[in-house]
Symmetry: C4
Subunit: 200 residues, 4 copies
């Protein structure tokens, strides 16, 4: 009977899809076209492009991780029936962290050998993961989700928490083994892909 409970989830999904697609597309602006001259040789140009590899690696990693967050966010709204004001605020904070990614990625791609960049980048991803967990925890506690399929829902819960877990591990590694801190991220993405292909 209350206004916030009557909120349709479709426009929150529209805003979220908008923020995700723009954030993911803005990542490309952190790839700067080399400022070459026409008389530069092909070898010089190839060298310039190859020197951009940290930026390319950050682009691919950040795009796919953001895609993973979008996927899990998408799945939560598959089960969520109602939306209220609190959930909307948690979603805004979640989207605010998502849309910070181009900055974090820019920091990471230029300066990824610095501890501070690593903490910032991983901290940004961790904040997204924790806000996604809070969003799902709140929706479940307030019985906003459908309960048709408890097995699927508990599986989704495991997925969301394991995403947060990966970033906690990555953060610990950034302190202990900074040179290898990024390794859990592609490993996790590859694992998630293999999981999708082989699950029956």
């Amino acid at each position: 009977m209350r206004a916030p409970l009557m909120l349709s989830k479709s426009r929150i999904e529209a805003l979220s899809d908008g923020v995700f697609s723009i954030t993911m597309t803005l990542l490309v602006l952190k790839l700067e076209v080399p400022d070459m001259m026409h008389h530069s040789s092909n070898e010089e140009m190839l060298d310039q492009l190859l020197a951009l590899w940290p930026a390319f690696a950050t682009y691919v990693l950040t795009f796919l991780i953001a895609g993973g967050f979008w996927f899990l966010h998408h799945l939560t709204f598959h089960y969520i029936r109602h939306v209220n004001g609190v959930l909307l605020w948690v979603n805004l904070l979640f989207l605010m962290s998502v849309s910070l990614l181009p900055f974090s990625a820019g920091l990471m791609s230029h300066l990824f050998i610095h501890h501070v960049s690593q903490y910032f980048y991983i901290g940004n991803q961790l904040a997204i993961a924790l806000l996604l967990s809070a969003h799902w925890l709140y929706a479940k506690r307030k019985d906003m989700h459908s309960s048709d399929d408890p097995k699927q829902i508990s599986q989704l819960t495991v997925r969301i928490y394991s995403f947060a877990g990966v970033f906690i591990v990555t953060m610990i590694m950034a302190f202990a083994l900074p040179a290898w801190s990024w390794t859990p991220l592609p490993a996790f993405l590859l694992g998630a892909l293999v999981f999708e292909i082989f699950r029956r």
Copy 2:
């Protein structure tokens, strides 16, 4: 019986969601990645990041205020049944003010100790709030909204006008107490959040 009355509201919602999500995501472009060297120390880099705090504060504040405007705009269209040409023009002016936010935020984050930046930033937010009020006032006067739930509708009216009121107070403070003019904004956001959590 007239064409403008036959306008579906779905595409205006789509344009609005698009403008809001892009504006909110473009705010991040005002956060410039520090132009550091690889041989800079971690301490230097941390200092550079910490020096960006006015830009970060402006980012968080502007994102959440824009989210609040999006939420209220969303709620008005929850009740609005028809759309005509005038309402569409008011909405265009509203969206034009919203999409000016990255400029205002850029001005504020670089130069927020100047009175002129404060007037511009708060004036931009006030213009958005007044155009949202005009949009809702017009829709109510022309009986374009559903009247199923008068209590909810009057509650929404109070919310929209109080949003405008906060920016009028902030503007007055910018003249009288410029050093504290920004304080009503986070106070209001926090209050709105607490209100959502504790209302029953």
Copy 3:
């Protein structure tokens, strides 16, 4: 019976709403935040902001004209029932001209006293108007629109062609009276707004 005739119009509308909302929001990036120092006085800063007036005027004008094109495009799809491959291509060319607007606006706002900028800016708007006319002409000729309301449809046709007419007049004025060439645009926008308010 053919695939292109089975195309739903909803995704073309989604792509169009996306291109319009992004284009309109990107216009703000042509407003550059003045590069002032902290020790600049308020007067210096106000002067800097006031010196941006051609950019602000171009922003407002271009945003509202683009909003007008979006509105008319929206109305055509209100009546169009089917979409085929040719219509889709015409729409792509239309959207390509729309998304060129941030460049034309940037040219106009920096250099609007040059004839060349005026021809380019007005030519861009004229191209959009002509492609919108072609889109509507094709849809009507191929009987893709509903014929429920012939009066409304002929009214829309008049509107679309008069939009193109305004830009033809503006273009002629850019040759004959370059200093006044921009005047038909705000006059037209104001006229359209007054028309919406007073029609019964």
Copy 4:
């Protein structure tokens, strides 16, 4: 009975439409407004604009090719009924390649006489075409598409593979006849347009 099979395709379409519309609109940011002075003559300004022709040609070409990819992607989802996790990952990789286009176009428009830029640009387009083919191949192999209209579906398959074929030919030409490597692209676009107009 499994969660991924229950995924609605509407939000993947929304994310895709978002990424496509933003990518296509961001292309304009690679067209830099000439940095002229107010006292420059009209002739100087015209020369500056004409000197941008490679950037304009790249803009038009890339926008229309991206539009073609959007169209084919749109058509595949017209026939696809279910979506699972693997298809979603293939789509993310597809969208990641699409959103790289502003970088490739920037490289091409500044430096298109270099072999390396050509390989990169054509390679980007080829990657998009191959991922689109993989997406469609996977959906067909897993019987995710409707089988109402086998003739239409096989026609779409031919279209998707021929798009990939054009980029393979273009890539070969970039090695053999670099000065003419771009020619198949406008020829193909023109051919596709003529095909749409004259098919009965």
